[in-house]
């Protein structure tokens, strides 16, 4: 009798170590462009709820491949809307958790010429190279092409286009002044004072929706669900907006 009680008590004790009640942990895959806001949001999240969000940053495409091969992420913050949808379609994520957590803003940026009136600058074409992210690989690239077509400058500018394989690389081309102008994400210009910029009117391109989704692996994790809820909340939204994203 006493032995049974002892074993039961031991079991409860061990169980409590395995799943500490209250303070949880969740593994979040975060698109590289959302790195800085994600860190701030996670810190605030920890402060407010006591849960810890363990963040991993990288390319959305790579994350998608890993997730479909069993990587232990529980929440996925993508740079686009296709990958989360594909995750849901593939049975790796919960459909009703899908939502747009940020909308990317496309910006024309230059450290060499004045692009404050971006439309005029593009039409004048007084530059040798224009940098964009590879449309095949990044939504910002697709958006850049859309915007240029909408402005009717795409055909004239096409010979001058150079592609970075990611938005980060497109940024690098402009930052090192190898390309005089380039289409980058507004969030990348957070804290950057050099050069001139032109926020591309959102009417010229389809919105760059960055979607988040709860993965099957995190379906029963309170911390995962709490994180996504926090992301939708007012404090997180304020941070997101401050970093240069639009909100739904």
């Amino acid at each position: 009798m006493k032995l049974t009680v002892l074993i039961a008590a031991l079991g409860v004790l061990l169980a409590s170590f395995a799943a500490p009640a209250g303070a949880g942990q969740t593994h979040v895959a975060v698109a590289a462009n959302f790195t800085e806001p994600a860190k701030e949001i996670a810190a605030l999240f920890n402060q407010k709820t006591g849960h810890e969000a363990v963040l991993t940053f990288g390319a959305s495409g790579a994350f998608f491949t890993q997730i479909t091969h069993g990587a232990p992420f529980e929440v996925f913050l993508s740079a686009d809307s296709e990958r989360p949808k594909a995750a849901v379609d593939g049975g790796f994520a919960l459909a009703d958790s899908l939502f747009t957590y940020a909308i990317g803003k496309l910006v024309l940026w230059s450290r060499v010429i004045d692009v404050t009136d971006g439309e005029a600058a593009l039409k004048a074409g007084q530059f040798q190279k224009l940098s964009i992210a590879n449309p095949v690989a990044a939504p910002y690239g697709t958006a850049a092409v859309e915007a240029m077509k909408a402005l009717g400058v795409y055909d004239a500018l096409q010979p001058k286009i150079v592609q970075g394989n990611s938005i980060a690389q497109a940024f690098q081309f402009v930052d090192t002044r190898n390309a005089e102008v380039g289409f980058v994400a507004l969030s990348q210009l957070y804290g950057v004072t050099a050069g001139t910029r032109w926020e591309v009117p959102q009417t010229l391109y389809s919105p760059i929706r960055q979607d988040a989704v709860l993965l099957k692996t995190g379906a029963d994790n309170e911390a995962s669900k709490a994180f996504l809820d926090f992301l939708k909340g007012p404090e997180a939204r304020a941070i997101i907006e401050r970093f240069g994203y639009a909100l739904n």
């Binding site: 495409g61 040798q128 190279k129 940098s131 590879n134 095949v136 690989a137 286009i161 150079v162 592609q163 970075g164 394989n165 690389q169 690098q172 081309f173 090192t176 002044r177 190898n178 390309a179 005089e180």
Partner: protein, 228 residues
């Protein structure tokens, strides 16, 4: 060409051109460097050797970044490009050649240096006693004796350039017909899920590289046997 659509055979052609020009340029640049490394008694020569080997250790992103700066308007590349009215050597085939030369250099210098070192002093002393000036001794004795090493260096340099992805990605700009080589083209095909094209290109790449390397190895063995 060969009935293949242009978005497949143009990258192939570009890749072969890039690898060939890079390899030849490397032989010209690496050979004197390897000779110096093999023969010099300067205290700082291993420091130079370490610098030459850096591209093996550095991630392509780091290498690509420094190359971007070097090739760009703030670096020597920009100065050179301004000679013909351009601002930068990035996004040009020339820029790719330079980038490939830097990243493949250690693979070419090392085998050539070893080959020169393996010759030792004796053949060159013999040449000197037979009225050969140091220059003549280099061309008629050292170089022929080291030729298997040069061949190895050429093979490795060529293969490495064909497979080079990181650096090309960083400084190329993926311009069709100019800097979209096989590696970046395959990347695109994978991203757009054109698996068949990706496989064709990748498979062709493997076969070609294999053929080149195998024939060079056999040639090298032939030379060694003839001299045994």
């Amino acid at each position: 060409m060969l009935g293949l659509p242009s978005d497949i055979w143009v990258p192939i052609q570009l890749t072969i051109e890039l690898a060939a020009i890079t390899t030849l340029s490397l032989l010209v640049v690496a050979t004197p460097l390897a000779w110096w490394l093999a023969r010099s008694r300067a205290a700082w020569k291993e420091g130079v050797a370490a610098i030459v080997s850096l591209p093996i250790v550095l991630p392509p992103t780091v290498l690509g970044f420094y190359l971007l700066i070097l090739l760009g308007p703030d670096g020597p590349g920009g100065a050179i490009a301004s000679l013909w009215g351009a601002r930068t050597l990035a996004f040009t085939f020339t820029g790719l050649v330079i980038g490939s030369i830097v990243s493949s250099m250690p693979f070419v210098v090392q085998p050539i240096r070893n080959a020169f070192a393996a010759i030792g002093d004796r053949p060159l002393e013999v040449a000197a006693t037979l009225r050969a000036s140091p220059r003549r001794a280099f061309w008629t004795v050292a170089l022929p004796l080291a030729s298997p090493g040069l061949l190895t260096g050429a093979v490795l340099g060529f293969a490495h350039t064909v497979g080079e992805f990181g650096v090309v990605l960083m400084i190329g700009g993926n311009i069709p017909g100019r800097t979209r080589v096989m590696s970046t083209a395959i990347f695109d095909f994978v991203e757009t899920m054109r698996w068949r094209d990706a496989n064709m290109l990748a498979g062709g790449m493997v076969v070609f590289a294999f053929a080149v390397i195998l024939s060079m190895i056999l040639l090298e063995k032939r030379i060694a046997r003839a001299r045994a």
